[in-house]
């Protein structure tokens, strides 16, 4: 059993009591809601005659269903309009702050809470969305919940939970040029498998993690859930504090000094005990691309689609299904696989640094003929910052569409979707069958820079093979 880790400290601090069934009642410090998983929770509150216990501890935005071309109300899709108006009504009725369209603070829930300084070290963060693990980048315990649990948090500001085990993902060495946080986490998932993390929180640690920016740490924690781990976290340090300092909801003045002292005390102790540890070497990781139908079916860019006999027996049925669904033959190099659509955005890779990395590749180049490429900033703040430094112009000049913020084609609950058998290069997080809106659509997950490289060449391309200064 783990002890002395950040996970243990934050868990203990938020433990209200042990419930008769053997679960723990855990206080939720920050509750984030959006339009998709909250309406039935509010309806259930009403049915039970309950109110929202701490409206000031819940923050709302709208992201999944918003169109990214025109966000004019009412939306063209009446179902989308109904979902947003239901959220607006629920928030107004219960006194919950809604960061709505045009507020300057709207965006993907896992992008806006960090950028507003809502997410802080030492908190428990819950949201009806599996990618809530993102917030663990700050040294929080952050996890996705279902709608019944959203109801419970609204009613009681707490949840019935069971404690996870802790696995340290120790990443030594340093990532090499052209290799990003996305590649690192795809590599971890590929190595440990999509169910390797079930029952665990992942503590990402080591020299390669310590040098990452907050945005890069968010990318890694975001995808912990794709490796089966409900939570991922990084111990808070100076990088964390520098990111938070001055943000809207961050503490100020003397509060700030006390906060930093407290946050520092939460990091895992030098002699902390973890339940498991796996060591990786960052310098050996190549740009990584998924070829199949789970995020664990990944390959280094210089590798080929695996032969069935090279796989463990248990992995073969899924591989066979992936060959068929993806229409990719064993032995085919992943580099060079043609794509139709290129999507840059999502809660995994829709932040400013992601757009900069993609723009650095797009600058002075052109999207290949026949390729549809678009960029969806993760939030209104990201859009504004990107436009201020001219990234929108770089993308437009290269033939990318520049869109309004939202979840977009990560999950296609909005007009952005694949058609038929189209295959996408995508900076999002899931390549499940049908994920991007077409029941037969196909997804190759990769970093934003790799998506931009694929857009320029019309096929999967090693971004390291492109010179940083193309001939103009």
């Amino acid at each position: 059993m783990s002890s002395g880790t950040l996970y243990d400290k934050v868990w203990d601090l938020h433990r209200v009591t042990e419930l008769p069934g053997g679960s723990t009642q855990l206080f939720v410090g920050l509750h984030l809601i959006h339009e998709v998983t909250s309406p039935q929770a509010f309806a259930a509150l009403k049915d039970k005659g309950l109110t929202v216990r701490c409206p000031e501890r819940t923050v709302a935005t709208v992201d999944h269903i918003v169109p990214t071309i025109s966000q004019q109300r009412p939306f063209e899709d009446p179902l989308a309009e109904e979902m947003l108006s239901t959220l607006e009504r629920n928030c107004a009725q219960h006194g919950i702050v809604l960061n709505g369209l045009g507020s300057g603070r709207q965006g993907i829930v896992h992008v806006i809470a960090p950028e507003l300084g809502l997410t802080q070290p030492g908190m428990t963060v819950a949201c009806g969305d599996s990618h809530t693990s993102t917030h663990g980048a700050f040294g929080a315990i952050a996890f996705g919940i279902g709608t019944s649990q959203v109801r419970d948090v609204l009613a009681s500001q707490s949840l019935a939970m069971n404690k996870l085990k802790v696995r340290r993902i120790q990443v030594n060495g340093q990532l090499t040029d052209g290799v990003s946080a996305k590649d690192l986490v795809l590599h971890v998932i590929r190595t440990l498998g999509v169910k390797g993390g079930v029952g665990y929180a992942y503590e990402f640690a080591g020299p390669a993690i310590e040098v990452l920016s907050m945005e890069e740490r968010m990318t890694i924690c975001n995808m912990a859930i794709e490796g089966g781990a409900r939570c991922g976290y990084v111990n808070p340090d100076q990088v964390t504090f520098d990111y938070l300092n001055g943000r809207v909801h961050a503490p100020r003045g003397e509060d700030w000094d006390r906060a930093v002292a407290w946050w520092s005390s939460l990091a895992s102790d030098a002699d902390a005990v973890v339940d498991d540890e796996v060591v990786f070497n960052a310098s050996a990781i190549a740009p990584t691309v998924t070829w199949g139908i789970t995020p664990g079916q990944g390959l280094g860019i210089d590798e080929s689609i695996p032969m069935p006999e090279s796989l463990e027996v248990g992995e073969r049925p899924m591989a066979e299904e992936a060959y068929r669904y993806m229409d990719l033959q064993p032995g085919t190099p992943i580099a060079g696989v043609p794509v139709d659509v290129c999507f840059i955005g999502s809660c995994t890779n829709g932040r400013l640094s992601d757009l900069r990395a993609a723009a650095a590749v797009a600058r002075g180049r052109q999207v290949a003929d026949g390729i549809r490429a678009f960029v969806v900033p993760g939030s209104e703040q990201v859009a504004k910052a990107a436009e201020a430094e001219g990234l929108d112009q770089v993308f437009r000049a290269a033939g990318f569409e520049w869109r309004e913020p939202g979840c977009s084609m990560c999950l296609a609950m909005n007009p952005d979707r694949l058609e038929g058998r189209q295959i996408s290069a995508s900076s999002s997080n899931r390549n499940f069958k049908g994920r991007q809106g077409s029941a037969s659509g196909r997804t190759l997950l990769m970093s934003p820079a790799m998506v931009a490289a694929a857009a320029v060449h019309g096929r999967v391309t090693d971004v390291r093979s492109l010179s940083t200064q193309p001939d103009l």
């Binding site: 601090l13 938020h14 209200v16 419930l19 008769p20 069934g21 053997g22 679960s23 009642q25 206080f27 410090g29 998709v36 998983t37 309406p39 309806a43 216990r53 269903i65 899709d77 179902l79 989308a80 979902m83 239901t86 802080q120 030492g122 009806g128 969305d129 599996s130 996705g144 919940i145 279902g146 709608t147 649990q149 419970d152 009681s156 500001q157 707490s158 069971n162 999509v194 169910k195 079930v198 029952g199 089966g228 409900r230 503490p251 509060d255 006390r258 002292a261 407290w262 005390s265 664990g296 049925p317 899924m318 296609a412 609950m413 899931r430 499940f432 069958k433 049908g434 994920r435 809106g437």
Partner: protein
């Protein structure tokens, strides 16, 4: 269809069906386009929508021989991916009252628990044997006993497992956590009073 689960869940009895495969994610159980709703009511018809369309009537959820089944036999990491409670809601509204498999994704398991649907585990070779029996005779009746922690037919019986906390919540009927959580309101108040980030980081830990 029987009514939705309520009270103590000690015994689930009835016919079964199999959805085979590792890592079946919640996007497959209920594709995202069906999440555009403000009520769960219509989800039962949409469960596994894309898989069913692809198999054109041959998906277990469409086959006549499996209609009315209420125990779903699955493999490993069932329900991975998105946290959408729409997935267990869709299964429940189709008629599923229990799931038995090798392992379950964390969030899916919790969502099922909150609906009173037990997710029980057994070893891979046992699951294989159980699935073969279901396929061979869909009319066979199964009994999932949470007191004895056994899955049985008239002839055979297998041990199944669930973590002790959730198991006790189901058996005792306290799987709907809301009222228990509300009962401890004063403890929540006390905890908030000393929570550093709620009091200007003044509290002495």
């Amino acid at each position: 269809m029987s009514s939705f689960p309520s009270g103590p869940i000690q015994l689930v009895e009835g016919r079964a069906l199999v959805v085979a495969g590792e890592d079946i994610d919640t996007d497959r159980i209920i594709p995202a386009r069906f999440l555009k709703c403000v009520s769960f009511d219509a989800l039962g018809d949409q469960v596994f929508a894309d898989d069913r369309k692809e198999l054109n009537g041959e998906h277990p959820f469409d086959q006549a021989r499996f209609q009315g089944a209420l125990i779903l036999m699955v493999n490993g990491n069932f329900g991975c991916g998105s946290s959408r409670e729409h997935a267990p809601q869709a299964l429940m509204r189709w008629g599923i009252r229990a799931v038995v498999g090798v392992s379950f994704a964390e969030i899916f398991f919790g969502n099922c628990l909150a609906l009173g649907i037990p997710c029980m585990t057994a070893a891979p070779d046992q699951i294989k044997a159980i699935q073969a029996l279901v396929q061979a005779d869909p009319s066979r009746s199964w009994s999932l006993n949470l007191e004895e922690m056994k899955l049985s037919t008239e002839e055979e019986s297998w041990e199944v497992a669930v973590d002790s906390g959730p198991g006790e919540m189901l058996r005792s009927g306290r799987w709907d956590a809301t009222s228990q959580l509300l009962d401890n309101g004063p403890q929540v108040d006390a905890l908030m009073e000393h929570m550093p980030y709620l009091n200007g980081f003044q509290a002495v830990l």
